[in-house]
Symmetry: C2
C-alpha cells in the first residue's frame, strides 16, 4: 500500500526522499488557494517564481504578474495573493507569474519529486482522487511560515490523509499528527485557527473573507500540476 507522509517545513525537505513519489505543495493561506482558483477560472498557466524581479520580467511577455511579501501585495505588481483576485472574468485566457513569501519556495523545493501537484482545501477531493489513481507514495510539502510549522497547512495534510484513509498508509508520525489535528478541527476550521498568533496576524491584514474562502473544501475540481516551469491543470 502506498503511504502519505507530511513535511511540516521546507527546511526539513532535504530529509525526505522525493524521487519516485508525488509531492503535493500546499500554502493554504493563500498562495496555493489562489493558484487553484486562478486555473479554475481560466488562467492558461502559472509560472511560480522565487524572486520579485524574476516575476516582474514576465510582464513584458504579456503575463499578469502577482507578488506577495509578508501578507501584502508587493509594489508595482498587478495582483496580490487573494483568491478573489483570480475570480474576475478578466483572468480567463491569461498567463500568470506569481511569487509569494512561502508558497512558491515550497513548489521549487518539491521539484525532485516525480510529479508536483498543488493542493488546497478548495481542491482537496480532486487531489485525493488523482493520488488514488496514481498509487504512488505521497509527500505533502507544507509551505509553513518562513520555515516554521503552521497549522493551516498541517490541517490540509490531515484532510488529505482522511480522504486517502484505507488506500494509503497513514503511519508516519507527521501524518498521524496532521490526521488527528484535522479530526479535532474539522467541524470549525476557522474557530480552531483563530487561536493561532499566525492567523491573528493575517486577520489584522483584514483578509478574513480570504481566510474563510480558503478553508472551504471541494469548491474546485482542478488539480494543478507542474510541467516544466509552469503549473497547468492535470488532464
Amino acid at each position: 500500500m502506498p503511504s502519505i507522509d507530511v513535511c511540516f517545513s521546507p527546511e526539513l525537505l532535504p530529509l525526505f526522499k522525493l524521487q519516485g513519489k508525488i509531492a503535493v505543495a500546499v500554502d493554504v493561506l493563500r498562495a496555493t488557494s489562489s493558484m487553484v482558483t486562478a486555473l479554475s477560472h481560466g488562467v492558461v498557466h502559472i509560472a511560480p517564481v522565487s524572486e520579485l524581479t524574476e516575476c516582474m520580467a514576465y510582464k513584458d511577455q504579456g503575463y499578469m504578474v502577482a507578488a506577495e511579501r509578508d501578507g501584502v501585495k508587493a509594489e508595482g505588481f498587478d495582483l496580490g495573493n487573494s483568491p478573489f483576485h483570480y475570480q474576475e472574468e478578466g483572468v480567463r485566457g491569461r498567463h500568470l507569474a506569481i511569487t509569494t513569501t512561502n508558497g512558491t519556495q515550497a513548489i521549487r523545493l518539491s521539484r525532485p519529486a516525480d510529479e508536483v501537484l498543488i493542493g488546497a482545501f478548495l481542491n482537496v477531493g480532486a487531489v485525493a482522487d488523482y493520488l488514488r489513481k496514481a498509487g504512488k507514495d505521497v509527500v505533502v510539502v507544507c509551505a509553513g511560515w518562513k520555515g516554521l510549522f503552521n497549522l493551516e497547512d498541517t490541517l490540509f495534510a490531515g484532510a488529505l490523509a482522511e480522504r486517502l484513509e484505507g488506500d494509503f498508509e497513514l503511519n508516519h508520525d507527521a501524518t498521524l499528527a496532521a490526521y488527528h489535528l484535522y479530526q479535532t478541527a474539522k467541524s470549525d476550521l476557522l474557530g480552531f485557527l483563530s487561536k493561532s498568533s499566525h492567523v491573528q496576524r493575517l486577520e489584522r491584514l483584514h483578509i478574513l473573507p480570504d481566510i474563510e474562502f480558503c478553508l472551504r473544501e471541494d469548491v474546485y475540481q482542478v488539480v494543478p500540476i507542474l510541467q516544466g516551469d509552469f503549473l497547468v491543470p492535470a488532464q
Copy 2:
C-alpha cells in the same frame, strides 16, 4: 505573559531565538527519560556528549559510559538507553557520560538559551513548576528522529503546555498543535502512539516496558539543568 513555543526538530532550531529564554530539551524515547531517572536515583552529574569516542573517553575518569545508536546499546559501553538501567542501587554517587542518536544533539543545540532543562513525562510537573517560577519565555526542543518530527516528544510538549495554561501564552502554531494532540492522546498515550511506524520500530526492539515507563507522568521531581558541560539537579 511569557509564552511557550515548540521546535519540532533540531533542524529547525536555527529559526528560533533562544537568547533570553529557557530551553527544555526532550527525547521521551528514551534519552531524557533515562537522564531524569539517573539523577533521581543518585547519579551525581551527567555529561551529555555527541560522539561515541568522546563518551568513551570519560571511562578513564571513572564515569559510567552509556551509548545508544539506532535504538540499541553501542558496543563496548557500560549502559544503553533504558531508564531501567538507571534505577539500580549501583548508580548512586556515580558520574555518567551518555551519547544517544537524537537526544544529546538536542541538548547541545539548546545551549544558546539562558538555561537548558531536561524534560520527560516522568518529571513534567516538576519542569512546569520550575518554568512557572522562572517566568521566562520557553522553547521546547524536541529531539525528533534523525531530524524528523516525532509524536512522543510532541505529546510531551503538549502535556507541558497544558500544565502551563493560564500562566503562559499558548498561541504559537506548534504549541497549539502539541496541546491539541495531547488532548486527543492523553487518556491512552501508548494506544495513541502504537499506530506510529516510529514507535512500532522501537517495539520491535522489545522495549515495550521501557516505552510504558517513559509515558508515565510525575514519577520524579528532579529537574535536570545544564551547568557548564554537565546536567545536575536544579536546586
